[in-house]
């Protein structure tokens, strides 16, 4: 498998894990903040309890007017607690929005980093095959929507390679020859498969294609040096 593909997938994997970690951390922090907010703010009874305590502790607080004053104090406290409940609601809603924004920001940031890395790879490798559409009827292969007319034999070779790539397999010359001619691979000559590969490369543009598309891995065989998800056979 080509090194560039591996690193791209790995980058995406670590990226996904990193994004999930970040999002988890953000949600955890904001959940803790929300819980802290909801459970530590005083409720209506806190004011009443305080007034009651003042009433009990001061034995000379017995006058009618003093009691009415204490009651008014407790009521204003309760009214303030209602206001606090409203604030709590607003703050919770704002926290939820903040969470959403932070999550979106982290996701966008990581996406940007990954995109940059991918751009660097694309710049490095020069030409990236984004789509390979093989049309047997038209005897044409479309690389990045550029059409290349091929011979019947070359189309067969490319088709075999594409199917092998989609199955994550590598084929040597004998296996290629066997699959195309329909004979057992053991009966086939390695050289005839290599000839088919050579003809395919010749038809597509030889050295450039050798590097970008039809790669030879020493002692293992031939493989299409592209991501298998871009391959389509029609």
């Amino acid at each position: 498998m080509p090194a560039t593909t591996i690193s791209a997938i790995e980058a995406r994997r670590t990226g996904t894990r990193f994004v999930l970690l970040c999002i988890g951390a953000i949600i955890a922090i904001l959940l803790i903040a929300t819980a802290f907010l909801l459970f530590t703010l005083p409720d209506a009874n806190a004011f009443n309890a305080r007034v009651e305590q003042v009433f009990i502790e001061n034995s000379d607080l017995t006058g009618q007017a003093e009691l009415r004053l204490l009651e008014i104090l407790a009521q204003s406290g309760t009214a303030f607690a209602d206001t606090l409940a409203g604030y709590r609601m607003v703050i919770t809603v704002l926290l939820v929005f903040a969470t959403a924004m932070l999550v979106a920001a982290v996701a966008a940031l990581v996406m940007l980093v990954l995109l940059n890395r991918r751009m660097a790879q694309i710049e490095h490798s020069g030409i990236q095959v984004n789509s390979l559409i093989l049309s047997r009827e038209e005897k044409t292969v479309y690389l990045n929507n550029m059409a290349f007319k091929l011979t019947e034999a070359a189309i067969e070779t490319l088709g075999v390679l594409a199917e092998a790539r989609m199955d994550d397999e590598m084929l040597n010359g004998a296996e290629i020859e066997g699959m195309i001619s329909g004979r057992n691979a053991a009966d086939c000559d390695e050289a005839s498969g290599a000839t088919r590969i050579k003809r395919l490369r010749d038809a597509l543009g030889n050295q450039l294609m050798t590097e970008l598309l039809v790669k030879n891995i020493a002692r293992k065989g031939y493989v299409l040096a592209i991501d298998k998800s871009v391959i389509q056979i029609v």
């Binding site: 009443n48 007034v51 009651e52 009433f55 009990i56 034995s59 017995t62 006058g63 009618q64 009691l67 204490l70 009651e71 407790a74 009521q75 309760t78």
Partner: protein, 93 residues
């Protein structure tokens, strides 16, 4: 005869003081919204704060008041000075 009368008088005096009315002043509350009141009430049993507490808790609970504290127990001499502060709750329960 005189020897008989003196202890008898003493006996009557002691009995009289034991029969003297007992009163307690207390603080009570009611929740939602918080209402407070200071009241004076007559106690039927022993003239102690503990007894007053148990008696009053039941008595004012009938009107959904919750007893917070019994401040003191006293006899009728202490009534008049507390009448003003107790207001509506003067000897109500």
């Amino acid at each position: 005869m005189k020897h008989v009368i003196a202890p008898l008088t003493l006996l009557i005096f002691i009995a009289g003081s034991a029969n003297a009315a007992c009163y307690a002043d207390y603080k009570a509350k009611r929740d939602a919204p918080l209402r407070l009141h200071y009241g004076v009430s007559q106690i039927n049993g022993d003239c102690t704060v503990a007894n007053a507490q148990s008696e009053l808790t039941d008595r004012i609970a009938s009107d959904k008041w919750e007893l917070l504290a019994v401040l003191s127990v006293f006899d009728e001499n202490g009534l008049e000075e507390r009448r003003g502060n107790a207001g509506d709750y003067y000897l109500r329960y």
